[in-house]
């Protein structure tokens, strides 16, 4: 129900720093699926996620959601249907506002803002019960300013905020990358629990091979702006870490071969 049709994104076109981040990528995400996108630096994985989220628009190609062409929809318009957890723990929450106030906004994601009081008693109760499910003791700190919480706590809150209302698509942008191993594991556990309970459709970007293998039912490897491989279902379940590593090496060797082959040709003929 989410489709990318031949999207291309070029940064700094026409200048010396021109960089083709995505090259005609097509991708179809089925309802209820959990797709993991794996890639090294410069592979285009973050660009892909940002294109789906609407942070910027593709140079060519289309983004389609449930049959609607949303290619030109601005970020906040898509956000009514898309939940997002950022890589930076400080991007997902407002630090100078209380936990309750942050959730008051998350609970209204996609709805019109009005002159009604942001935090009713009923909403406060809901916030208390759902935050306590996180198991981090944050339900006792609902009136604390979010800026006083740790990165792991803020990411947990961002995750809950992104899924407070069931989104059509949940985007996870290397959301554990900036956390320590313990917080990272705890957040992954929380992520899996919420995804399974709400039956969410997920698109997750990671550079961790462990996460890529253990999570999701589909693995896409991006390399230099193109899809290098796509494992689904049984194929994905059979994947091992050393296999993936091997594939990564092959891709890099492919790059080097291209470079040295070009060098050789230049020497022979020029």
């Amino acid at each position: 129900m989410f489709e990318l049709k031949s999207v291309t994104k070029i940064f700094n076109a026409g200048t010396q720093e021109e960089f083709r981040a995505l090259n005609g990528v097509s991708l179809s995400i089925a309802e209820g699926s959990f797709t993991v996108i794996l890639g090294g630096n410069g592979s285009g994985k973050s660009t892909l996620l940002n294109l789906v989220a609407g942070a910027f628009f593709p140079d060519s190609g289309r983004v389609i959601m449930d049959g609607n062409d949303i290619t030109r929809w601005p970020e906040h318009r898509r956000a009514a249907h898309i939940g997002r957890v950022f890589q930076n723990p400080f991007t997902g929450t407002a630090p100078d506002m209380t936990v309750s106030e942050n959730f008051a906004l998350a609970a209204r994601r996609g709805r019109k803002l009005g002159f009604g009081l942001a935090l009713s008693r009923a909403l406060r109760e809901q916030i208390r019960s759902r935050v306590s499910e996180l198991g981090l003791g944050l339900e006792d700190r609902l009136e604390a300013q979010v800026g006083t919480l740790s990165g792991g706590q803020r990411q947990a809150l961002t995750l809950l905020m992104a899924t407070w209302q069931k989104p059509r698509l949940l985007l996870l942008d290397e959301h554990t990358a900036a956390l320590d191993p313990k917080s990272s594991d705890r957040l992954i556990l929380m992520t899996r629990r919420i995804i399974e309970r709400e039956q969410l459709t997920v698109l997750m970007v990671t550079h961790s091979m462990q996460q890529a293998i253990r999570l999701g039912d589909r693995l896409i490897m991006l390399h230099r702006g193109e899809i290098a491989s796509d494992f689904q279902g049984a194929d994905k379940r059979r994947l091992q870490a050393d296999e993936l590593l091997g594939m990564f090496d092959e891709l890099r060797r492919g790059d080097q071969l291209d470079a040295s082959a070009a060098e050789m040709i230049r020497e022979l003929y020029v």
Binding site: A53, P74, E75, H76, R77, A79, A80, R84, F86, T91, G92, T93, A94, P95, D96, M97, E101, N102, A104, L105, A106, R108, R109, G110, R111, L113, G114, F115, G116, L117, A118, L119, M161, A162
Partner: protein, 317 residues
């Protein structure tokens, strides 16, 4: 005593300016120079309407509305055309100087004897009490001063309460969040550009309201009366924060009001003690600097005292 009352009254009228600056400066981190233009805009619109015999309540509201429009323009220039925040404010402020001249037809509109809110408050008080002046602790207080103070107090209390409640609604909370983290707000489906424009609109509305009321208090609207007003507003907000020491919403708003009054009082006292009016801006700068630096110095002192009492713990401090 008259000096004290006058300063209090002006402090209250200008606290609406402080509230507007709080909104743009503290909530949106936007030093909005439009204030220098929207303050006299409110005065000009209200002044011209009052001089023409229109009811002052309506005229004051019109002044408020004009400020809303000015803020909307600044916000649109910034969000739609991606002009730097400072420049957006400067552009609108500059344009407003000519616009204010056009509205008034000249540089100054006298409304001392006209039907203004302040004059009607004075008459109402005189009628109700049947006296011409009060005596308080041996000081003689004119009806006009008392009435003006009462009016200022009532209006500011009402506006501050409205602003506080508004900032607690979903819309107001979204506005505050936009100034704090625009990226998050967009990811939650809120149009951050619209929120910024809305904030600047409300901010300049309050500032223009302040101008409209000041014009009625001082008896004239003048095209130059906005010069340096953004500095007054910033000084009030900063002094208020130093007083209140918290950035929780209710306290911050109260702090801005208190800062405006205190600042006005300090300046009045300094002038009474023989400060040459030429040095007024210098003293303003010194006060604001002190308000910025003293809280930090006090906190540092407190930490050093605590460290000295518990030697060995953080001895490097």
């Amino acid at each position: 005593m008259n000096l004290l009352l006058g300063s209090l009254t002006i402090g209250f009228f200008l606290s609406l300016l402080a509230l507007g600056v709080y909104l743009s400066f503290r909530v949106y981190h936007f030093a909005d120079i439009t204030a220098d233009g929207s303050f006299p805009l409110g005065a000009a619109v209200a002044g011209v309407m009052i001089a023409a015999g229109i009811h002052p309540g309506l005229a004051t509201l019109a002044g408020f509305g004009a400020g809303l429009a000015a803020g909307f323009v600044t916000g649109t220039i910034h969000t739609r055309f991606r002009v730097h925040p400072l420049l957006s404010g400067i552009l609108v402020m500059t344009a407003l100087y000519s616009i204010n001249l056009h509205i008034m037809g000249r540089s100054n509109v006298p409304i001392m004897g006209s039907f203004t809110l302040v004059n009607s408050a004075e008459q109402a008080l005189a009628r109700a009490s049947g006296r011409q002046e009060y005596f308080f602790m041996g000081w003689e207080i004119g009806m006009r001063d008392l009435a003006a103070l009462g009016l200022a107090l009532a209006l500011v209390a009402a506006c501050a309460a409205c602003l506080y409640l508004f900032l607690r609604t979903s819309l107001g909370t979204a506005m505050r969040a936009t100034g704090n983290n625009a990226a998050m707000v967009r990811a939650l489906g809120i149009n951050s550009s619209a929120m910024i424009t809305l904030g600047l609109t409300v901010s300049n509305g309050l500032i223009a309201l302040s101008g409209a009321l000041m014009a009625q208090y001082q008896g004239f609207a003048d095209v130059q009366m906005g010069i340096g007003m953004i500095v007054w507003g910033l000084a009030s907000v900063i002094i208020g924060e130093a007083l209140v020491g918290s950035n929780r919403l209710g306290l911050a708003l109260a702090g801005a009001i208190m800062g405006s009054i205190l600042f006005r009082l300090l300046v009045a006292i300094a002038l009474r003690w023989g400060l040459h009016p030429n040095n007024l801006k210098l003293i303003t700068a010194v006060f604001v600097f002190a308000a910025l630096v003293l809280p930090l110095a006090a906190a540092k002192l407190r930490k050093e005292c605590a460290a000295r009492r518990a030697p060995g713990a953080g001895a490097a401090g």
